[in-house]
Symmetry: C3
Subunit: 345 residues, 3 copies
C-alpha cells in the first residue's frame, strides 16, 4: 500500500513542493528513511539531518532550500505528522466479543462491539461502551463504567465504581481507584486508617501512562478532565481535580486535594503539594515542587517553586558565590588584595 | 439504613450539641452534604465551608458557634471520622472459598474462611490465614505466608517466601520480594549480578500502596514493621528495615540497607541513602534526600538534607542574594551608589 | 549438601588461610552466620562485625589478622561472593513446557525447553528461545521475541514487537513498549496524540527492575544495550538509547531521545532531560537532573547538574551564607561590629 504526496498533502491541508506523484510507503526518521519513506522536520535543530536525509519526501513547516526531495509544506508539521502517522500506521483492530476465558459478573452491560480479552475479570454491574477494548488480564471492579472507544491495556486495575470516559486510553499496569493515603494520628497508637469511600472519574480523551496510580477520593471523586494526558509512573492523590487538556509528565506527583487547572503543564519528576491550586495554563518546571498555589499562566521552578525568572536569577547568583566571597575579602583587606594582583572581577 | 446522632456520638465517645435524634444516612464532604448527611471539620481552614454547608449534622473538634445544624463534638475528630466511615461505609464482604479458576500448588494450607480470587496463582507450600482475601490475578510464590485478615489486591506479586502479616493490606500492582539491585564491578566486564537469596517480611497492620516495590534482602530479610503505612510508587531497597508505625509517602525511596526507626515520617518524593539510619520519630521533608543518618526526633529537609531550621535559614538567605550583591557593590563604589540614589536596603 | 573451603576457594581462584577442610552449608550475613556458614567482608566499614562474627569461615579481600575462623582470600571478594551465591543458593529450576492455561497465538515458535507459566497470554508470531522462562500472568504482544535463557517475571507486559535479549531478566510488573508520551500542540484544541509506531529492544544480559517502564519509540527503536542494569520504578522515554554495561538506579527517569553511553551510572531519583547525551562512563549523582549533555567520564550533580567539584563548592558556599552576611554587615558598620564584640569569624 502506498500513497502519493498529493494524497498525503490533501489529508493535512499542505502544499507539495516538487513531484506530487512520488509514492510513499511509510514514515521513518531522517536517519532511517529511504526513497519510499516520508520523513519530517519539526524542530530546527535537525535541519542538517534533514538536508542529509535519503528520505523520498519531507514534511516541513517551511520550505527547505537546496534539497532535491519533494516537500509537503504545512503550517503545523507536528499536528500533520500526528494525522499522517494515524493514517499510514493504523493500530491493528481488535476483534469484538468476549473471550471465553474472561469472567463477567452479574448485571454487566457489555456493548456487542466491545472487546474483552483473555482472563479479564469484570465485577458486577460493569458497563462497557461501544468499541471499547479491554485487553487481557484487566481487572474491573464492581460498578465501573468504561466509555465507548476506551482502551484498557493489559494488567490495568480499576477498583470499584471507577469511571473511564470515551476514547480514553489507560496503559498497562495503571491502577485507578486504590485507597487514598489518609490516616488520623491517634495519640500514641500510630497512624489510624481513614476509610476511603469515594471514587475516580476520568473524562473523555484522557491518556493515563503505564504504571500510573490515581487514588480514589476520601468521600467524593478524584477527577481527571477531558483531553488531559498523564505520563508513566505518576501519582495522583485522593481528591485531586485536574482540568481539561492538562499535561502531567513522567514520575510527577499530585498530593491529596490539589487542584490543577485547564491546560496546566507539569514537567517530569515534579510535585504539587496538597490542598493547593495550579491556575489555568500555569506551568511547573521539571524536578520542582510547588508548595504554594500558582496563579493562572505563571511558570514556576525549583524547590520550593518560585516564578521562573526568580529561579533563573537565583541560579545565576548561586554560580557567582565564589566571586562574591573574593570581592568581600578584597574589601576586608584591600592592601592584601592589591598585592596579590587580583583583578576587580 | 440510618443512624441517630446519639448512636453515632456514642460510637466515638462524643457529645451531641442540638437534636440528638436527627438521623444520618451517610458521610459526605461539606460541599456535597445534604440534610441526611453527616459532614465534618478536621482542619480550621475549612471553617467557612462548614458554616456554609447544608449538612444535616457536623462532626467537630470543638463546637462551632452560630450554625443551626446539630454537632457531634469529640476530642479527635479525625480518628472519630475514621471510625464512623468504617461503620457507615463498610467494605463489601468477599465470599470465602477458592475460585475454580485459581491455581493452588502442592502443600498449601488455605484457611477455609479465606478468599482466593479468579486466576490467582499460588505456588507450593503457601499458607493463607483466616479471612484473608487474595484478589483476582494475584501471584504468590512458593513458601509465602499471608496472615489472617490480610488483603492482597488484584495483580499483587509476591516472590517466594514473602511474609505478609495479619490485617496487612497490599494494594494493586505492588511487587514484594523482587531481586535487590546488587552488582559487583568486575574489572572491565561491567556489572556482575550478586544473587539475592533473602526475602521480605511485612508485619501486622501494614499498608503497602499501589505499584510499590519492596525488594528482598541479599541474604537475610527486608522488614516493614507493624502498623507502618507506605504510599504508592515507593521503592524499598534490599536489606532495608523499617520500624513500627512509620509513614512513607508517595514516590519516596529507601536505598539498600537503610534503617528507618519507629514512627518516622518520610514525606513525598524523598530519598534515604543506603546504609544510614533515620532515628525513631525523625522526619524527612518532601523532595529531600538524606545522605547522613538523622538523630531520633529530628526533622531534616533539602538535598542534602539538613536540620529544617538550617534549611529555612538557607532558603531565606538564598532569596536575598540579589540584595547581598547590591550592598557589596555599594561598599565597593560608595560614591556611585549614592549618586544612583540606592537606598540602604 | 556441604562444600569444603578448598572447593569454594578453587571455584573463585582464592587461597585458604586456615583449615581447608572446614565444610560450609550456606552463606549468611556476619550477624546471622554460625559455624556451618560462610560470611564475607566486602567493605572495610564492617571489619569489627567480621571480627565479632561466629561464621565458620570468611570470604575476604585481604587476610584479617587475629581471628580464629579460616578465611578465603581473593582479589575481588564481591565478584567471588556473586559466584559463590549462584553456586550455593541456585534459583529453583522451572519445569519446561507450556502450562495448560497459557494462551499461545498463531504462528508462535516456542522452544521446547522454554517454560510458559499459568495464564500467560502470548499474541501471534511470538518467538521464545531455549530455556527462557515466562512466568504466570505475563502478557506478550504480537511479534515479540524473547531470547534464550531470558526470564519474564509475573505480570510483565510486552507490547507488540518488543525484543528481549538472551539471559535478560525482566522483573514483575515491568511494562515494555507502552506508547511514548508525544503530543502536538494544536492551537486551542489541547494536546493531540502523535501515534507511537516504533518499538523496544533490550540487549543480552540486561536486567529490568520491577515496575519499570520502557516506552516504545515514535518511529524507530528504544534501545537498552547488553549488560545494562535498570532498577525498579524507572522511566525510560521513547527513542532513548542506552549503551552497554550502564546502571540506572531506582526511580530515575530518562526523557525522550536521551542518549546514555556505555558504562554510565545514573544514581537514584535522578533525571536526564530529552535529546541530550551522557557520554561513556559519565555519572549523574542521585536526586539530580542533567539538563545539558555530560562529557565522557565526567561526574555531575545537582539540579541543574554541574560537575561534582563545582557542586561541592556551591554546597560549601551555601552553608556559609550567614557568615557572608555577618562579614558584609561588619564592613558596612565597622564601629557597630566592634562594639558588639563580633570576632573576625
Amino acid at each position: 500500500l502506498t500513497w502519493s504526496l498529493e494524497e498525503l498533502a490533501a489529508r493535512v491541508g499542505g502544499e507539495v513542493v516538487g513531484d506530487r506523484r512520488r509514492r510513499i510507503e511509510r514514515i521513518r526518521t531522517l536517519e532511517a528513511a529511504g526513497p519510499d519513506d516520508l520523513s519530517f522536520l519539526t524542530h530546527p535543530k535537525y535541519l542538517d539531518a534533514a538536508r542529509a536525509s535519503a528520505a523520498g519526501a519531507l514534511l516541513v513547516g517551511r520550505r527547505i532550500d537546496g534539497i532535491v526531495a519533494p516537500q509537503i509544506v504545512v503550517g503545523d508539521p507536528s499536528t500533520a505528522l500526528a494525522a499522517l502517522l494515524a493514517w499510514l500506521h493504523p493500530e491493528p483492530a481488535t476483534a469484538p466479543g468476549i473471550h471465553t476465558s474472561a469472567i463477567v459478573g452479574e448485571g454487566c452491560r457489555i456493548d456487542p462491539s466491545a472487546s474483552i480479552g483473555a482472563y479479564a475479570v469484570l465485577g458486577e454491574q460493569v458497563e462497557v461502551g461501544a468499541e471499547a477494548v479491554i485487553h487481557p488480564h484487566v481487572v474491573v471492579g464492581d460498578g465501573c463504567r468504561v466509555g465507548a472507544g476506551a482502551t484498557l491495556h493489559p494488567h490495568v486495575v480499576l477498583y470499584r465504581r471507577t469511571v473511564v470516559g470515551e476514547r480514553t486510553v489507560v496503559h498497562a499496569g495503571a491502577v485507578l481507584g486504590a485507597d487514598g493515603f489518609g490516616y488520623a494520628e491517634a495519640a500514641g497508637a500510630g497512624p489510624v486508617k481513614i476509610p476511603q469511600v469515594g471514587d475516580v472519574a476520568l473524562g473523555d480523551d484522557v491518556e493515563i501512562g503505564a504504571l500510573t496510580a490515581v487514588d480514589r477520593a476520601l468521600l467524593a471523586t478524584t477527577r481527571v478532565g477531558d483531553g488531559t494526558k498523564i505520563d508513566n509512573l505518576v501519582q495522583v492523590g485522593h481528591n485531586v481535580e485536574i482540568g481539561r487538556g492538562a499535561i502531567v509528565c513522567g514520575q510527577s506527583g499530585l498530593a491529596g486535594s490539589a487542584k490543577v487547572g485547564d491546560g496546566v503543564i507539569i514537567a517530569a519528576q515534579s510535585g504539587v503539594a496538597g490542598h493547593l491550586t495550579m491556575g489555568a495554563r500555569s506551568r511547573l518546571a521539571s524536578k520542582s515542587a510547588a508548595y504554594r498555589s500558582v496563579p493562572p499562566g505563571e511558570t514556576v521552578a525549583g524547590t520550593p517553586a518560585v516564578p521562573i525568572a526568580v529561579w533563573r536569577r537565583q541560579q545565576a547568583l548561586l554560580s557567582r558565590l565564589a566571586e562574591l566571597w573574593r570581592r568581600l575579602r578584597r574589601l576586608e583587606r584591600p592592601d592584601a588584595a592589591r598585592e596579590n594582583g587580583e583583578d576587580r572581577g
